[in-house]
Every structure is written in structure tokens, then in C-alpha cells.
């Protein structure tokens, strides 16, 4: 098991190289001169050239990439072009907001999606099942930013119950978390339902009933654990989508998170920060999926023996 985890962490190295190379190249292809942005529109050509020299932007693109990666190896993600602060500390200071948001979104989705999925499966084709299916479809179909705006309109502007943005208190997280969670809720609900439907038809569920277990025990103790494996896969993948959603959401709700930092940095052509944010997302996504894979082993002992 330890060997497996070590192997998986090693496998993150090519992922980081791939992501960074791709993003680096795309950034270099976009129009605009970072040195000009740093120097300001008033600056003369000599100053811009000097800044370009200082930032190493006059070197060949590949050389720039190699230099950047060499810095990464020492834990140095460079400095922001606009603030001059280290990129790492810029990201680190905004990380909690994004994490709380993504975590709250997943929590909302898990707490609503999984129970609804279980109920839908155990009462297949009932009114409740049909209503949940309808809600799920609506949830999936609704664009995130639109839902966010609607929620702000209703709960912040009309009713005045919750703040429309900012994170001065925990209430500030409610609307963004719900917005973020709705799409995932629908996803988790449908996955739980279909997985549960498959499991409750298995022979071992009949065995549990034949032992005299009541329906609650059959579902919660025996069926759910078997049904969760595909659901956990979806949760892991969904976290990637949620991090992407956080970018949009942080903008809509003006939350000072990594997503917001990235959007601002793209606008200012602050290349090191954009790179740093995307690499952070890639690493977090890989780590979450590694965690998911480890979780499988605890849920299903058959998988544990396969991890080598």
C-alpha cells in the first residue's frame, strides 16, 4: 500500500511537467508584453527593455521554461510581476478561501445528493424518485454563473438574508457553496441511484434479508458501502470541476480566492502567478484523486489486495 502511494506521488511529476509546459506555451502565444504591463504605459522603450532583461523575458522561450522549472525544483515559483511578492505566498494566502468554498460545495452536494440517490433507488419510480430526477436534471442543466446571479438577486438583494459577496463572515460562503454544489448534487444523486439500484439486486443483499435484517440495516449497512465506490470516483472527479467552478464563482461573489487571483493575473498578464495557480490546481486535483484511490481500499477490501 505504501509503495503504491509512493508510486502514485511519483506519477504526479509528469502531470506537473505536462500542465506547466502546456500553460507556459499558451501564455507565450497570447498577445501582449508582460514587460510593458510591468513598466506601465507611460514608460519609455529603454525602461521596458531593461525590465524585460531583468525578468529574463528576452531569453528563448524554451530557456525561460527550463529556468522556471529549475526554480520550481527549489520551491521557488517566481515573483508576481505586479506586486513583486513571491507567487507561492500569494497563492497560499488565498488558498483557504478556495478550499473552504470547494469543500463546502462538495459537502452540500454529498449531504443532499447521496441521501436523495438512496431514496430514489429504494423507492424506484415513486413520486419522490421522479421529483429527484427532475431536480437533478434541472441542477445539471443550470449554468453556474447564472444560478449564482439569481441567488444573489433573491437572497441578497430582494430578501437581504445573506451577503452578496465577500467573506467577512461564514454566511458569505453559503450562497457560493450552494451555487457550486447544485451541479454536483445532481451528479452525485444520479450516480448513487444507479449504483444503489445495481447493488440491491445482488445475491448478498438477499442473504442479509434472509438473516432477518430490517430494511434500514440492509440499505445503510450492507448496500450503501458497496454502492459508494462509483460515487466516490465521481466525487473525486467532481472536485476538479468544482475548482474550475470556483474560478467563476469567486468572480461572481467577489471572493478573494485562488480563482479570483488567477483571473486578475490573466488580465494583467502576470505570467508567474497564472502558471502557479494552474500548477497548484493540477497538484491538488492529483492529490484528491490519489486520496480517492486510497479511500477505495478502505471501502472495498478486494481493491486493497490489488494495490501494489
Amino acid at each position: 500500500m505504501h509503495k503504491y502511494i509512493f508510486k502514485r506521488i511519483l506519477m504526479m511529476i509528469p502531470v506537473v511537467i505536462g500542465v506547466s509546459l502546456l500553460v507556459f506555451m499558451v501564455l507565450k502565444m497570447t498577445p501582449g508584453d508582460p514587460a510593458r504591463v510591468v513598466a506601465g504605459s507611460e514608460a519609455d522603450e529603454a525602461t521596458v527593455a531593461q525590465i524585460r532583461e531583468e525578468l529574463g523575458l528576452n531569453k528563448p522561450v524554451l530557456q525561460q521554461y527550463v529556468d522556471y522549472m529549475a526554480g520550481m525544483l527549489h520551491g521557488d515559483m517566481g515573483n508576481s510581476y505586479t506586486t513583486g511578492k513571491p507567487v507561492f505566498s500569494e497563492i497560499l494566502s488565498r488558498m483557504p478561501t478556495t478550499f473552504i468554498l470547494a469543500f463546502a460545495g462538495v459537502l452540500v452536494a454529498v449531504l443532499i445528493g447521496i441521501p436523495l440517490g438512496i431514496i430514489s433507488a429504494t423507492k424506484q419510480y415513486s413520486i419522490l424518485d421522479n421529483i429527484s430526477t427532475l431536480l437533478a436534471l434541472t441542477g445539471v442543466a443550470m449554468p453556474n454563473f447564472w444560478l449564482g446571479l439569481m441567488l444573489i438577486l433573491v437572497f441578497a438583494l430582494q430578501l437581504g438574508w445573506l451577503p452578496s459577496g465577500g467573506v467577512t463572515s461564514w454566511q458569505g460562503y453559503i450562497l457560493p457553496a450552494v451555487t457550486l454544489g447544485v451541479g454536483a448534487t445532481a451528479n452525485f444523486m444520479r450516480t448513487t441511484r444507479s449504483s444503489m439500484l445495481e447493488v440491491i439486486r445482488q445475491d448478498y443483499i438477499r442473504t442479509v434479508r434472509a438473516k432477518g435484517a430490517n430494511e434500514k440495516r440492509v440499505i445503510l449497512r450492507h448496500a450503501l458501502r458497496n454502492a459508494l465506490i462509483p460515487v466516490i470516483t465521481v466525487i473525486g472527479l467532481q472536485i476538479g470541476t468544482l475548482l474550475g467552478g470556483a474560478v467563476v464563482n469567486e468572480t461572481v461573489f467577489s471572493l478573494p480566492g485562488v480563482g479570483m487571483l488567477m483571473i486578475n493575473s490573466i488580465n494583467k498578464k502576470d505570467e508567474p502567478v497564472v502558471l502557479g495557480c494552474l500548477i497548484t490546481f493540477a497538484v491538488v486535483f492529483s492529490l484528491v484523486n490519489l486520496f480517492v484511490d486510497i479511500l477505495y481500499a478502505y471501502i472495498d477490501p478486494r481493491i486493497k489486495s490489488q494495490y501494489r
Binding site: 448478498y204 442473504t207 432477518g212 477490501p301
Partner: protein
Amino acid sequence: MNNHNTLLDIQNLSVEFRTDDGVVKAVNDMSLQIERGKTLGLVGETGAGKTTTALSILRLIPDPPGVITGGSITLDGEDILAASKHQLEKMRGSLVSMIFQDPMTSLNPVLPVGEQIAEVYILHERINKQEAAKKAGEMLELVGIPASRGRDYPHQFSGGMKQRVVIAMALACNPKLLIADEPTTALDVTIQAQVLKLMKELKSKYDMSMLMITHDLGIVAEVCDEVSVMYAGRVVEHGTLEDIYEHTAHPYTEGLFHSIPNIDARAHRLIPIPGLMPDPTDLPPGCPFAPRCSYAVEECSKALPTRIQLSDTHSVSCILRQKEE
């Protein structure tokens, strides 16, 4: 017929499955009795309604689409068809247990086997987890598995071992009736013999009654006291081992015997029963076996044969025997 020595009494049971493609009449007007301490073999080919009958006793027929449309089931004086959900849950696993056909799929893959056995005690006896685990260990030893292996998961056991675990689970609360649904079909022949021997020993040790469902007449001869032969949802012949093996009365039973290899007459070719069982969504009006029966006469396909008593213990449903009378 119904005295206090009868543990299980099924009278005129009918079960159907209402599907989109039609109504499948799985069990039709079926009756059987099992006396205390006795083993009844329920024999018939796949699709004859054996498992459906067994699941009816536990009221575990998947509903929908399965519906018990008529008849009565009395187990140890209790009316099963009138029992409440709670009564049924109390009964399952303590008064009546069932061993299923495929041990590979009948254990929960994500729980240790010891825990799965202990669950029966937790459900039916007021004991705590430690005591239940200890009793589960004793039960494992009883079926020939070291108690320490209770921590292992089903995938770490072989098929025969899994079936032992299932047997341990079924016998944990000392049920009065054990239903074994083709318990050895999925196992190797050598393992089959071991498992059967174990079941026989435990049955006499606990003084249980047993309903042995099988299509293997060899197993019947080994473990059963009485035999009911089932065809298309009905019992076509019933009798003691001697009645069935020595005085075979129904052409279908005869066909079954012709279909098994005989070690004393190896040179003989097997004589299979021609054709297939009738479509249970569209049963013929007469004797359901008539289309495949080499003795069939015209009357056979007109009306259902009535059950005739050949002796105190032996009964058969066949027009030919009616004529002989």
C-alpha cells in the same frame, strides 16, 4: 394431514410474476409438508419453481413483480402469509434460514465473514458485539474453519469455504427449518461431498428439518427422507425415497432417472427428456408434461390430472395411474 408433527405446511400455493411481457405462473397450486426432523427433497429442472417456492416461505420474493396469489404457508404454527413485516424479520434467520445456490455471490464482499455471521446473533439474540463475535468464531470452527479467519473477507476464501461460511451463518441461531437451495451446484464434485456431509451432520446435531432443493437425484438419495418432484410449478409426484426410487410412478420422474449416469451400466447412453418445459406465461390447459411425455394420450392435454394416492406415503398426478386404479 395437518398435525403438530408437521413443521412446514404449504397448501395450494400459487405465485406469479407480473412482467411487461406477461404473467409468469411460477408456482401453481403447489402443496408440500415437512415433518419435524425430516428432510424433504424438492426435485425438478431449472425453472420448475423450486426457488420461488423456497423464497415464498421466507416471503422474500421480489415484489414487484412477484405476487403470491393464493394458498397458505404455515411454519411452526405461524401463518406466514399473514405475518407482519416485523414478525417476518424476527422469523428469518432464527426460525427458518436459507442457504443460497451460489456462495460466490451470497456474501457481502466488503465485510469480514466473522462480522457477517455475528450479525445474525446481534439481530436475534440480545447480546453485545464481543459475545456475538465469539459465538461467530465458534460457529466457524463448527463448519471446519479456524475462528481466526473470521477477520478475513469473502474474496480470501475458496468457493467451498464460502459455502461453509454461509452454512455457519444459516445455522447460527439454530433454526427449526433450513432451506438449502442447490447448495452444492456451484461447487466442485469433491467439495460437494464434503459440504453435503457437513450439512447432514449438522442437521442431525441440531435436529432441524430441511428442505433440500436440487436437480441432482444423487444428492436426494444421500440426504433426504422424502421427495417431491416438481414440474412447471406443480408437485407431480411425492413419496418416500423408496417410493420414488423403486416404484417410480410419474413419467417425468422416470425421465429424470434416465437422464443421470449410472455407474453400474456405463455402456448405456443417457436418455434425455425431449423438448423443453412449457412457457410459464402460457401453460397448456392439460398436464403440463404431456407435450414431452412418451406415454401421453389424448386426454392428457384436455384437463389437469388429479392427485392420486398410491399408498400412504406415495402420491402422483398422472392420468395413466388414474386409469390403472
